[in-house]
């Protein structure tokens, strides 16, 4: 996060508080005195007051009323769906592992199948699992620390 701490002087601080109507009476008197003797500050005050005036006339756009009516239902559905996906994923991983284990056992016990075919199928399966894990790990961990991800390609 960009931290801009420590770049402001007393004049800028008073300027900001004046714009946002957060000056104490003593500070207001100090600011008015500064405005009368510092043309640069007076220019900035005018410029930022104009911006303040523009933004004071703008609002964030309201969404359609229906959105609020269905908001909680949407939140609840999302939560439910998230839970469902977790259960589906756990079930799929457990059943997939169990099925794979039995498949490998049956494969190795099959006397009719030549040994090189057995090992080739095994290599294929292990390779596919490794590829899947590698891609998932890349997506989850590596992309988070990619220093070039902010660059438009």
């Amino acid at each position: 996060m960009n931290d801009d701490k420590g770049r402001m002087g007393r004049n800028e601080e008073l300027l900001m508080r004046a714009l946002d109507d957060e000056l104490e009476p003593a500070e207001r008197a100090e600011f008015e005195r500064l405005l009368s003797v510092n043309p640069e500050l007076a220019g900035e005050w005018k410029r930022l007051s104009r911006l303040k005036e523009v933004t004071a006339n703008m609002n964030l756009r309201s969404p359609p009323e229906e959105m609020w009516a269905g908001y909680w239902t949407s939140v609840y559905s999302r939560f439910e769906r998230g839970l469902a996906w977790i259960l589906v994923s756990i079930g799929a991983i457990v059943l997939g592992s169990w099925g794979a284990w039995h498949f490998v056992q049956d494969l190795m016990a099959d006397a009719d199948l030549p040994t090189f075919v057995k090992w080739s199928i095994l290599a294929l399966l292990v390779g596919l699992v490794m590829l899947l894990v590698s891609v998932l790990r890349h997506r989850v961990f590596v992309s988070r620390s990619d220093p070039y991800k902010e660059i438009e390609r």
Partner: protein, 200 residues
């Protein structure tokens, strides 16, 4: 005056106590209580997201996701503390990740725009087509200038200008010193003033 202040304080305390009760129930897994918290804070959460991502659809999506994550993490809720600052931390993490995520870049560009609107009294007072056009141009320019601000500055600017929070409230919400809030806001205003120069 003192009586009024006491009454206001009493109201505030009653509000906090009611919220603490809802938080306790939500913490125990009561979805109805959590639903009430959603109803109380959905507007604030949506508009905070809208200010950060600049797209109504994404703001809806992210604000709802923040509530979902809050419910999942309800075990970490502290009934003695206000609910919104805790929720806001979840929301802002989502918004920061969203704006950094390259996969959503195209979507962001397609959806950007149309998130600011001139105040009703300004719209009502403008009947000259030339002035309507000028107001629209000003709004468009302001929208795009805000969108180009670094997110930390944009966030503070939106909380100040569109949510109307005090410096102290923003500092508490973001958990940063008040000086940081002011300097971010100052930097944001400097950039925006440059972008709006020449427009009346």
């Amino acid at each position: 005056m003192n009586g009024t202040r006491t009454e206001l304080e009493r109201e505030r305390d009653a509000g906090q106590a009611a919220e603490a009760k809802l938080v306790r129930r939500a913490r125990a897994g009561d979805t109805a209580a959590f639903g009430e918290l959603v109803s109380i804070y959905m507007h604030r959460c949506y508009y905070a997201a809208l200010g950060m991502v600049g797209s109504p659809q994404d703001a809806e999506d992210l604000s709802q996701e923040a509530f979902v994550r809050a419910f999942r993490a309800r075990g970490r809720l502290d009934p003695e503390r206000p609910f919104y600052p805790w929720l806001y931390q979840i929301l802002r993490r989502l918004c920061y990740n969203f704006t950094r995520d390259t996969s959503s870049r195209r979507r962001k560009l397609e959806r950007a725009g149309g998130w600011l609107v001139a105040e009703a009294r300004v719209r009502a007072s403008v009947d000259d087509p030339e002035r309507v056009r000028a107001t629209d141009e000003l709004r468009d320019r302001l929208e795009s200038a805000i969108r180009e601000l670094p997110l930390a500055q944009r966030e503070v600017f939106v909380l100040k200008e569109f949510e109307g929070l005090k410096y102290r409230e923003i500092a508490e919400l973001l958990d940063v010193p008040m000086g940081t809030v002011m300097s971010r806001l100052y930097a944001a205003r400097q950039r925006l003033a440059v972008r709006l120069e020449g427009l009346e």
